[in-house]
């Protein structure tokens, strides 16, 4: 935002009518405005423009924001995550760029998910080699964990692509039907159109998911566009690596252009969450009652068994 300026506009290039409008709008210096309105015609035009402006003001004044909206915004502001250990990312320039892509955007992002995971694994490998000589069994453990994450990312990506192909989102019923077609089982789909910022009421642990593992897809398609969070949970015994219970591990690419993957554990269940961006991810984590602390995922630490909150 540039500094506010009150200087009169440069009126040298303005024609007679534009000058009169500027005079009526208080954009000219007092002397110049007086000069413009010195003759009867000019004064009448200026008076007309001012009357028109007043009438426009009355016509567009409105009745103010509805009380319900005010209450909703106050609640939403209160629900915003407080400062977390990792600084909140800047809002995308010019609006919600990543969410703007909607499902398509999500898919585009997730096509790169495997690449993201590969980057993370590569980083881990680099750290690994830099720090010392791993034993063969340690190497295998890290590789298994990395492969697990890659597989998870690929599965999400494949699922998203199939879902998108089968059903452009046309409401909850259509989405649920498509989910069953794609996955072969009924999976809850929640339309958050009216609950954009109140996902808490849909806490996944209170839901009965089919089978021991399951996915939830949250869609919101109200105004600001699609919000898709894909979440998966697996029994802790099926997790390929130690997952801490005290914090959420965040897997990001260096340039943060790829979607974040969150990993955490609650009791015997390990949760994965893919969000369109870190902002949405943070909000979802809070609402899902995930641990309040976030740490960058570091495969090397996992490999070294240095998680303080591990099993």
């Amino acid at each position: 935002m540039t500094e506010r300026r009150h200087n009169p506009i440069d009126d040298a290039a303005l024609g007679r009518e534009a000058l009169l409008r500027a005079a009526a709008d208080g954009e000219l210096s007092a002397a110049r405005a007086a000069e413009a309105g010195a003759d009867a015609d000019g004064a009448a035009r200026i008076a007309f423009e001012r009357s028109l402006r007043d009438a426009v003001g009355r016509s567009m004044q409105g009745n103010g924001a509805p009380a319900e909206l005010r209450a909703r915004i106050e609640a939403a502001l209160r629900a915003e995550p407080e400062a977390l250990p990792i600084p909140m990312p800047e809002a995308p320039r010019g609006g919600s760029a990543r969410r703007a892509g909607g499902v398509i955007g999500w898919l585009n992002a997730n096509r790169s998910l495997a690449a993201l995971l590969a980057i993370a694994v590569s980083l881990g490998l680099f750290m690994f080699w830099r720090q010392g000589q791993p034993t063969a069994s340690e190497r295998i453990a890290m590789d298994v964990m990395a492969q697990s994450l890659i597989k998870e990312g690929e599965r999400f990506t494949a699922f998203g692509e199939r879902f998108e192909k089968q059903v452009p989102y046309k409401g909850r019923a259509a989405a649920e039907g498509a989910m069953e077609t794609v996955l072969g089982e009924a999976v809850p789909v929640y339309d958050l159109s009216s609950l954009h910022y109140q996902v808490a009421g849909l806490a996944p642990c209170s839901l009965s998911w089919p089978g021991q593992s399951g996915q939830l897809i949250y869609h919101a398609d109200e105004g600001t566009g699609w919000l898709t969070l894909i979440m998966n949970r697996v029994p802790v015994a099926e997790a390929a690596s130690p997952v801490p219970e005290k914090w959420v591990s965040v897997l990001r690419s260096g340039n943060e252009e790829l979607p974040p993957v969150y990993l955490w554990r609650k009791g015997d269940v390990v949760f994965y969450l893919v969000a369109p961006d870190e902002w949405e991810g943070r909000r979802a984590l809070k609402l899902f009652d995930a641990p309040g602390s976030l740490r960058r995922f570091d495969p090397d630490l996992a490999w070294a068994k240095s998680y303080s909150g591990g099993r």
Partner: protein
């Protein structure tokens, strides 16, 4: 800006932001969502907001404006759909033709208001937006240009076109009321 201070000051302008959102979207539900998104985005950046004399209101307007443009682009899936926001010639201040020069003493402005509302509804979002910031919020050309992140000439052009459209919409009323347009030579004869 601290969070508590932000909430206090930002909520003071809720009516104004809602008014802008309503003029842009023309749909109460969409406007409400735009307002909510505006406030959440503002909150995210509240700590980096620097007071520069214009207060928090223009900043909120800018966020709402940008969010609206982003939405429209997304909905249209074609950036050109809102090209007018960016493509207007910044050097153009609009034709310098005179507006109707009616006998103002005869014009019943109260009666004009309803017709004016309908004419405003027919304007494009960008014209309504400029008109609102000018007519209701009382902003200067330069301030509007800052909010819309557009050259001042574009603001003047939009205001001119909007006012010309309103004047044209009021033309039948002028005739009904028998008000003389001093620019209309045929009527003078």
């Amino acid at each position: 800006m601290q969070r508590a201070e932000f909430e206090l000051r930002a909520l003071e302008h809720l009516d104004a932001v809602h008014r802008l959102a309503l003029q842009l979207t023309r749909r109460p539900d969409e406007a409400a969502d735009l307002v909510q998104e505006t406030y959440l985005r503002a909150l995210r950046s509240a700590e980096s907001f620097e007071e520069r004399g214009g207060g928090i209101r223009p900043w909120l307007f800018t966020i709402a404006h940008n969010l609206f443009i982003t939405r429209r682009k997304r909905e249209a899936r074609a950036p050109s759909a809102v090209g007018e926001f960016f493509d207007a010639d910044p050097r153009s201040a609009g034709p310098d033709e005179p507006p109707p020069a009616w006998d103002l003493s005869s014009l019943d402005w109260e009666h004009v208001d309803e017709r004016l509302k309908r004419a405003i509804d027919d304007l494009s979002p960008e014209h309504r937006e400029a008109l609102l910031l000018w007519g209701v919020e009382g902003m200067k050309y330069r301030e509007i240009a800052d909010v819309l992140e557009t050259p001042i000439g574009t603001v003047m052009s939009r205001l001119h076109r909007a006012r010309r459209a309103l004047a044209a919409a009021l033309e039948p009323m002028r005739r009904e009321m028998g008000i003389v347009d001093r620019n209309d030579k045929t009527e003078d004869q």
